[in-house]
C-alpha cells in the first residue's frame, strides 16, 4: 500500500523541524563551549561515581539475590542499559518537560499553540541537551566490558532488539513524564508533580527479581503491568545479560504493548490538558 503523498510530506516536515531544533540546540550549546564541556564532564563523573557505588556494593556480595542471575557483570549490563535510556531522556525530553510547566504557568504556551505544528511535538522536542549524550560513551564502554566479562557474544537478533527496546524504554519514561508536566494546567504549578516522576522511575533502577515475597511480588506486578517502569531497563538488559531466561519473550511482548499503550495514554492526557488550558496572562 502506497503511503499518501501528503502524509510523507507531513512526516518530512516534522523531521525537518526536529532537525532544526537539534541544530539550534547544538549551536546554542557550542556558543558556550566551555560550559558544554563542563556539563558533559560532570555528567560523566556522575555516572562514574554511581558505578563506583555499585563496585563498592559488589565488594560485599557476588550477586543481587540468590539464584536471580544478576551477578556483578550482569548487573553492570543492566546499569549500562539504564545509562543509555536515561541519557536519551535527559537529552531530549527533560529540559522540555521542565520548561513546559513554566510555559503553562506563565502563559507562554500561547506561542506554541498558535504555531502550525503539533503542540506536543513542539513542546517535547524544542530543546535538546546534547551534553547529556556524553553518558553514551561511559555506557558503551561499560556494556562492552561487562559483556566480555560475562563471555556473551550478542547474536544479530539481540543486536537489533536491544536498541529497539532501549527506545521503547525511552518512550515509556517520556510517556510518564509529559502527563505529569502537563498536570500543571490543572494545578497551576508543576514542581512537585514533576518531582514525582523521579520517585516513580526510581523503581526502574534495579532488576525486577529483587521485588519478591509478600510485598515485593504485588509491587513487581504493579510496576510491570500498571505503571510499566520496571520493563524500561529490565527488558533490554535481560536480552544481553540473561539471554536464556525463559521469561524474556513474554516480557518483550509486554514491553512492546506497554510502550504503545503508554504513548497513547500520555497523548490523551496531553490533549485533555491542552483543552483545559487557560492562558495565564494576556
Amino acid at each position: 500500500m502506497a503511503v499518501p503523498r501528503a502524509r510523507t510530506d507531513e512526516i518530512a516536515r516534522y523531521l525537518r523541524v526536529a532537525a532544526t531544533f537539534a541544530r539550534n540546540s547544538l549551536v546554542r550549546d557550542m556558543t558556550f563551549r566551555a560550559n558544554f564541556l563542563i556539563d558533559a564532564a560532570t555528567s560523566i563523573v556522575w555516572m562514574l561515581m554511581n558505578l563506583a557505588f555499585y563496585v563498592l556494593i559488589f565488594s560485599f556480595t557476588t550477586s543481587l539475590g540468590v539464584g536471580t542471575g544478576w551477578g556483578k557483570y550482569q548487573f553492570f549490563v543492566f546499569l549500562a542499559t539504564g545509562m543509555f535510556i536515561n541519557s536519551l531522556v535527559q537529552a531530549f525530553f527533560m529540559p522540555n518537560a521542565n520548561e513546559f510547566g513554566e510555559h503553562i504557568r506563565t502563559g507562554r504556551l500561547d506561542f506554541a499553540l498558535v504555531k502550525p505544528i503539533d503542540t506536543q511535538f513542539l513542546v517535547s522536542l524544542s530543546r535538546i541537551e546534547w551534553s547529556s549524550l556524553s553518558n553514551f560513551a561511559v555506557a558503551a564502554v561499560l556494556l562492552g566490558y561487562s559483556l566480555v566479562q560475562i563471555g556473551h557474544r550478542p547474536s544479530v537478533v539481540e543486536c537489533v532488539l536491544y536498541p529497539f527496546y532501549v527506545l521503547c524504554g525511552v518512550a515509556v519514561l517520556y510517556s510518564l513524564m509529559m502527563p505529569l508536566a502537563a498536570c500543571a494546567v490543572w494545578l497551576g504549578r508543576n514542581e512537585s508533580l514533576y518531582d514525582y516522576w523521579f520517585y516513580v522511575i526510581n523503581f526502574s533502577r534495579y532488576p525486577m527479581e529483587i521485588y519478591r515475597g509478600t510485598y515485593g511480588t504485588p509491587l513487581r506486578l504493579f510496576f510491570t503491568y500498571m505503571i510499566p517502569v520496571l520493563i524500561v531497563v529490565n527488558v533490554p538488559a535481560r536480552l544481553l545479560a540473561k539471554p536464556l531466561d525463559p521469561d524474556n519473550w513474554w516480557l518483550a511482548i509486554c514491553a512492546f504493548v506497554a510502550t504503545l499503550a503508554s504513548l497513547a495514554v500520555s497523548r490523551w492526557i496531553f490533549q485533555r490538558a491542552l483543552a483545559s488550558y487557560r492562558s495565564a496572562s494576556s
Binding site: 563498592l56 560485599f60 534495579y206
Partner: protein, 271 residues
C-alpha cells in the same frame, strides 16, 4: 534590640504563612520521598540474601534500613534546596541590592526564612514520617538512651546550621564568579555520595574512607544517623559533636566574611 527581635519575628511569621500555602504539597511530597526507600528495602534484602546475611561494615540488614530512615530525618534538617543557587542568582541579576539598601541583614534574613521553611516542613511532615517509622519499626532495636537521643538532636540542629552556612557560602562565591553552577554540581555530587545518605560511609575502604570521614559532609546525614544507632559512642561521640560545632562556626564565619568582602566588590548588574 527589641526592634530587631520584632523584625525577625515579622520575617519569620511572613515566611511561615508563605510556606503554609503549600502544605498539601508538602505532605504528599514527603510521603513520595520515601518511595526510593521501598526500592532500598528490596535491593539490600537481595544483597544480604546473597552474602549469607553477613553484616556489612558492621551493619546488619535491619541496621541498614534504620540507617536509611534516620538519614532521611537528618536530610530533613540539613538539606537546603535552592539556597546556594538562589544566592548566586540574586548576585548575578542584581536582586541582592534589596538587602543592601534595606536595614536588614541578608544572611540573617535567609536563615530565618529557612527556619520558617523547616518549621512548617516538620509540622506537616511529622505525620508521614511517623507513619513510615511506625511501619518500619521492626528495623529498629528500640529507643536509644536519653543521652544518645540528646546527642542525636544536638547533631540534627547543628546539621541544619551547617547545611545552611555551607550552602550560603557556596552561593556567595557568586560574587567572584558569576556562574557557580559547576561548583554547585561538584558540591552536590560530593554531598550525594559522601554525606552518607546513599550508604553508610564506613563502607568505604582504606584511604578513601578516612578522607570522607574527615569531610564536613558526613555531618549532614551520616553522623546523626550513626549516633542514633549507637555506632558512635563515648569519647568518639563527644569529639564528633565538637568537630561538627567547629565546622558550623567555620562556615558561619566563612559565609559572613565572603558576604562582607563580596559586597565590597559587587557592582549591581541589572535593574
Amino acid at each position: 534590640m527589641l526592634a530587631r527581635v520584632q523584625t525577625w519575628w515579622t520575617v519569620l511569621s511572613i515566611s511561615l504563612s508563605e510556606r503554609l500555602v503549600y502544605r498539601g504539597d508538602f505532605a504528599v511530597g514527603t510521603l513520595m520521598r520515601f518511595l526510593p526507600f521501598v526500592t532500598q528495602i528490596f535491593l539490600w534484602a537481595a544483597i544480604f540474601e546473597s552474602n549469607g546475611n553477613q553484616p556489612i561494615a558492621g551493619y546488619t540488614y535491619p541496621d541498614f534500613m534504620a540507617y536509611f530512615l534516620l538519614t532521611q530525618v537528618a536530610r530533613a534538617f540539613s538539606s537546603m534546596p535552592g539556597l546556594a543557587s538562589n544566592v548566586a542568582l540574586d548576585i548575578r541579576d542584581g536582586t541582592i541590592k534589596k538587602y543592601l539598601i534595606q536595614p536588614i541583614d541578608m544572611v540573617g534574613f535567609l536563615l530565618l526564612k529557612r527556619v520558617a521553611h523547616k518549621l512548617v516542613y516538620y509540622i506537616v511532615a511529622i505525620a508521614p514520617f511517623a507513619l513510615v517509622f511506625y511501619l518500619a519499626r521492626g528495623f529498629f532495636g528500640g529507643w536509644p538512651e536519653p543521652a544518645v537521643l540528646a546527642a542525636f538532636f544536638a547533631s540534627l540542629v547543628m546539621s541544619f546550621l551547617l547545611g545552611f552556612f555551607l550552602e550560603a557560602t557556596i552561593g556567595m562565591v557568586g560574587f567572584w564568579f558569576l556562574e557557580v553552577s559547576s561548583l554547585l554540581f561538584v558540591y552536590m555530587l560530593f554531598s550525594f555520595f559522601f554525606s552518607g545518605h546513599m550508604f553508610p560511609i564506613d563502607m568505604l575502604p582504606g584511604f578513601l574512607g578516612h578522607f570522607v570521614q574527615a569531610l564536613p559532609l558526613k555531618f549532614l546525614a551520616y553522623f546523626p544517623a550513626a549516633v542514633f544507632l549507637g555506632k558512635v559512642t563515648g569519647q568518639e561521640l563527644v569529639i564528633g559533636l565538637i568537630v561538627q560545632a567547629a565546622w558550623v562556626v567555620f562556615f558561619g564565619v566563612a559565609c559572613r566574611a565572603s558576604f562582607h568582602y563580596g559586597v565590597k566588590r559587587y557592582s549591581a548588574y541589572g535593574g
